[in-house]
Symmetry: C2
DNA sequence: TTGACATGCAAGTGTTCACTTGCCTATTGT
DNA sequence: ACAATAGGCAAGTGAACACTTGCATGTCAA
């Protein structure tokens, strides 16, 4: 169980969430490709897999196995905790 | 310049933000005391000072020097970026 | 003015973390 | 069946990070 805050601490993981916002149900390989194409990042497949594991452990990504494919879907619900914990105050605007 | 996400990654820093939500313009020593009282944490003064430095660098804490006191105030505005970057989708609710 | 108080700076240490490497398992198509 | 594809496991490495220690600076009150 990773907490949401630690999951967001890494830029690569944030970019993975960005890509999943664009389209749900993407495989590990698709996400690796998009990191390279859209962000000039070329971590190994294992590194990306570990990042997705952290995101899943934090509840930010849901996984569904379909044959030999593992499809990843974003779940932004846990992020609500952040806005609720430190709400915006009018005086600061 | 620390990014907001890294600033939130540490539990002690999150608790400091919690304490600053309760009351603005607190000194380093006040915050040290509250970490001990409310959360059973006893890091050194320097450790807490460094954490406050990270929060300030991320724009989450504003500082005002008043004589020998340094008063810390929370600024939750940077957190809005998170909710905007990965908005909640109806289908997930 | 001098001692107490509030904070700052900087080097050193141990742990956490991202990443790689190497090998293994499972599924699919021909 | 078997080669190709998609993914998994686990140990090892280097860097980033939280934290401490020791000393220095600046402010205030008696």
């Amino acid at each position: 169980m990773t907490d949401v805050y630690k999951a967001l601490a890494d830029e690569t993981r944030r970019l993975l969430l960005d890509e999943l916002m664009q389209r749900d149900e993407q495989t590990l390989f698709e996400l690796c490709t998009k990191l390279a194409m859209n962000h000039d990042l070329t971590p190994t497949r294992q590194a990306v897999s570990q990042h997705l594991g952290v995101l899943e452990s934090a509840g930010l990504v849901r996984v569904e196995r379909r044959g030999r494919y593992k499809l990843h879907t974003i779940n932004t619900a846990p992020l609500a905790e952040i806005a609720e914990r430190w709400p915006l105050r009018k005086a600061q605007q």
